[in-house]
């Protein structure tokens, strides 16, 4: 057992060397980070400036340069957990559906009489017909509009369900379609949040989907969660509506299918608008900050061909009437159409500052969030606090490390030194593994490493104590060491697997910092078993062959 074949020795030392090599960039964290940024910039085609070249020369390119990621609690930054209001999209879908339902039913006017859309729950469309006896024909006509749902799990189902209630035709989305819609909405939200965060130019943001309706956003280095919310929070939903009237009475009565929205630049003034928009933001292809003829900050926009055509037709048919430009539930302006506007481009004026138009243009370009998001959880950690934690953690690690090394040396003499070498390699391996997989180190993660330093010697202690016992029964040193390893093995395995179970459960069920702790704890267990079983044993075996002691003291 004490004899190692050459290939095993090579593998063991190779793994140790690799671990130390992978861990080494973390010792020069700032330099390597700058090196990584600089080389990435150069590869992306940035112009080579002396500063960039100097940064890129800070770390030899043949050495590994992956670093442990620092978590938000160490680097500082903002964390948001957003919930997407998926239900809103159903309402928009119903609005989109209304024109085709109307056209389908109009075709059967002789049979079913006149039709009228009546108020309904947000996610349903109710249409009342004047000849209730023909309701079945109406339902059939609407049902013909149903499209098959395009998804793998819902083959054969259609997107809408049509039923009737007295003189009302009731249209709602089918469950399969709701699922598909939810999926699309969430993906779209993720994409749009990603674009907005990227436009702001922060480094390495994490934008992840969580569960069925949530998005986790972590942006290191940003000043505060409020800033991040401002950036992604407003939906920037742009719509153009026909104006029905203008009032200063907030409680004015609004007819069915009309809405009242406040004016943004004239306090106390409200517009009554047609609820179904003429044009919506999805038809927008470009937006730029600009200035109008009076040199006021404004946003120019361009519509896609179909939006341009609708806009052109609408303006041609409604010359002399006002239409409202609505942004996030407020009327930005309500100009009167002076002439036919072909080509699908225009300009939005309002009481904007230059900064506001720049931000608005970004948001319009990135696209409107398909649904509103609410923030369930938000955390901001300042960079100074993170640095304090790193410093405190580093000192604590060094002190803990030194204390355990001294204690082991005092307790086990030469064998204690072997265990200490293994412990040093162990910590290097943990950092090497963390860097290699790009894991994130958090403050509890540092605690996990310190705990590992304390617990990693356990496997060695088990073996050494066992060797002591075996020595008592007067066997030769080599035999005692061999038996010590052999007999301690099952205890080492059982003890570490149980801890590993706890670490895995923490990883699966935990989130954020807790997960960081689980990772370092789990890696710590694996590396400590490796170092105790292989590295220390190899050290002892080499020492035994070299010194050939008659008696040993453990």
């Amino acid at each position: 057992m004490l004899q190692f074949p050459l290939w095993k020795k090579i593998v063991i030392w190779g793994i140790c060397a690799l671990g130390i090599l992978m861990a080494s960039p973390n010792l020069q964290y700032t330099q390597v980070e700058q090196y990584n940024d600089a080389t990435a910039a150069l590869e992306a085609g940035a112009e080579e400036t002396p500063e960039l070249a100097a940064m890129a020369a800070q770390w030899p390119s043949f050495l590994p340069s992956s670093l442990v990621n620092l978590g938000l609690d160490l680097r500082g930054g903002a964390h948001l957990l957003a919930e997407v209001q998926l239900g809103e999209v159903y309402a928009a879908r119903m609005d989109d559906l209304w024109p085709s339902v109307r056209d389908a039913l109009r075709g059967k006017r002789s049979e079913i009489g006149t039709i009228r859309r009546v108020d309904s729950p947000e996610d349903e469309l109710h249409v009342r017909i004047s000849k209730p006896e023909a309701i079945d024909a109406a339902v059939a006509a609407v049902r013909a509009l149903a499209q098959p749902v395009v998804s793998l799990t819902s083959a054969g189902q259609t997107d809408i369900e049509v039923s009737s209630n007295g003189a009302d035709v009731i249209v709602r989305l089918s469950e399969a379609e709701k699922l598909a819609t939810d999926q699309r909405t969430l993906e779209q939200t993720l994409e749009i949040i990603r674009r907005r965060v990227d436009e702001a130019g922060t480094r390495e943001p994490t934008i992840q989907r969580q569960g069925t309706d949530r998005v986790l956003i972590q942006v290191p280095g940003i000043g505060s969660a409020e800033e991040l919310k401002d950036l992604i929070g407003t939906t920037a939903k742009l719509t153009f509506h026909a104006v029905v009237g203008r009032t200063s009475d907030q409680n004015a009565r609004v007819q069915s299918r009309q809405i009242m929205l406040p004016s943004e630049d004239e306090p106390g003034i409200f517009y009554i608008l047609e609820k179904t928009p003429v044009i919506s933001g999805e038809q927008l292809v470009d937006a730029q900050a600009a200035f109008d003829q009076n040199n006021q900050a404004a946003v120019s926009f361009r519509l896609n061909p179909s939006g341009g055509r609708i806009f052109g037709e609408y303006t041609a048919n409604n010359i002399g009437t006002p239409f409202a430009i609505v942004l996030d539930g407020g009327v930005v302006s309500a100009p009167t159409i002076r002439s036919h506007i072909p080509g699908g481009s225009g300009i939005i004026t309002g009481r904007f500052s230059v900064e506001e138009t720049a931000k608005l243009a970004i948001q319009l370009r990135a696209g409107a969030l398909p649904a509103k998001v609410t923030y369930l959880e938000e955390r901001t950690i300042g960079p100074e606090l993170g640095q304090d934690s790193i410093d405190a953690g580093r000192i604590a690690c060094i002190v803990a490390f030194a204390a355990v090394l001294i204690f082991m040396g005092l307790s086990y003499g030469t064998f204690g030194l072997f265990a200490n070498v293994a412990l040093i390699i162990n910590v290097a391996l943990i950092f090497g593994l963390l860097s290699a997989i790009g894991a994130t180190l958090t403050l509890p993660g540092i605690a996990g490493i310190v705990l590992t330093i304390g617990m990693a010697v356990d496997a060695n202690v088990l073996v050494f104590e066992r060797i002591r016992e075996e020595l008592k029964s007067a066997k030769g040193p080599a035999r005692a060491i061999e038996l010590g390893y052999e007999r301690a093995f099952s205890a080492i395995v059982d003890a570490n697997i149980t801890t590993l179970i706890a670490a895995v459960i923490l990883f699966v069920m935990g989130s954020g910092p807790v997960r960081g702790f689980a990772i370092t704890l789990g890696f710590g267990i694996v590396t400590s078993v490796f170092t105790a079983i292989w590295v220390t044993r190899l050290l002892i075996s080499t020492w035994m062959q070299y010194r050939r002691p008659k008696t040993i003291e453990v």
Partner: protein
């Protein structure tokens, strides 16, 4: 000369004081439950929802001034505590906790800005190193996930030990675990230390650590049961605990050394977390020596006596060629 925390060979009768230890453990567990029910845990925002703001200032923290500044904002229940750290006397840090506002949202930007403005007015040098908000909807889920995680971990371990040993061992180990977790919750209730998600991580680590110790003792019990087939169970248990005592103490000490340095030097942000682990190591070591083995003794173990062990008791007992 070696440092020896435990003499070379010990022969302590751990079951001589069973009534005292079991009585103590039972009393401590009852006390913990009573404390939990009467005083309750000091739940952090992870579990209760709400907002905590950490402030840092160049002048000494005056809780009264902060309170006066925030009262006009009508934010409901506000608690303000000064953070003290013996290793950093120059620290002027306070922790402000605001109860969850209505609705599922964590907090609105307006509220945060109003709080920051009010505090800046009261103390112009104030900065806000961290602001954390959790909405009531998420905090409810977090509690359940945490409880699930602990229960699931205990069950998984129960299963593993049952696979590797016998069911009696598994019951012993899990009772020891429940003992440790209960006492930890008791001490958190008593000292009113903030109980947040990180503490759940600490609890699970305690579960892992305590098991580690228990399993090492059990492993030796299993081995000795095979070796001494006719020796009474109590003696086998005693022998096994004595044989592993040195290792149990060594590992606890190295772990405690590491944890204490983190407790003292690691900063106030994780002090509660580290405290939970230190407490867990102490209780876990105690329970694996006294609680787990007592349970095992009470339940008994099915032993294979078909092949009488000739060597037990004579001078060849420890030799296997």
């Amino acid at each position: 000369m070696r440092l020896k925390l435990v003499p070379e060979s010990t022969n302590v009768n751990f079951f001589g004081i069973t009534y005292i230890t079991v009585g103590l453990s039972a009393m401590a567990m009852v006390a913990s439950v009573v404390l939990f029910l009467t005083m309750g845990l000091n739940y952090g925002i992870d579990f209760m929802g709400g907002t905590t703001i950490r402030t840092d200032s160049e002048t000494t923290v005056d809780v009264g001034v902060y309170r006066d500044a925030l009262t006009p904002l009508n934010l409901g229940d506000i608690s303000i505590t000064e953070v003290t750290d013996p290793t950093r006397p120059d620290l002027n840090v306070a922790q402000i906790r605001i109860q969850a506002q209505d609705g599922a949202q964590a907090i609105t930007n307006e509220t945060i800005q109003a709080v920051k403005a009010a505090l800046t007015e009261a103390d112009s040098t104030i900065t806000f190193p961290s602001v954390e908000s959790v909405g009531p909807k998420v905090s409810g889920e977090l509690v359940w996930t945490a409880v699930e995680a602990v229960v699931f971990a205990v069950l998984a371990v129960l299963f593993y030990i049952w696979l590797r040993f016998e069911w009696q061992f598994s019951v012993g180990a899990v009772l020891a675990l429940i003992h440790d977790v209960t006492l930890t919750i008791g001490v958190f209730s008593l000292l009113q230390i903030k109980f947040d998600l990180a503490i759940i991580a600490a609890l699970l680590t305690i579960v892992g650590y305590s098991l580690n110790d228990t399993v090492v003792v059990f492993d030796r019990v299993r081995e000795n049961l095979r070796k001494f087939k006719t020796t009474p169970l109590q003696d086998v248990l005693n022998l096994s605990i004595n044989e592993t005592l040195s290792r149990t103490v060594m590992t606890s000490v190295t772990t405690l050394i590491a944890l204490i340095s983190l407790f003292v030097l690691g900063g106030d942000v994780i002090r509660g977390f580290v405290f939970a682990m230190i407490w867990g190591v102490l209780v876990g070591t105690y329970s694996s020596v006294f609680v787990a083995s007592s349970v095992l003794l009470r339940l008994g173990v099915t032993r294979d006596k078909s092949k009488p062990d000739n060597t037990s008791g004579n001078q060849f007992a420890n030799i296997d060629a």
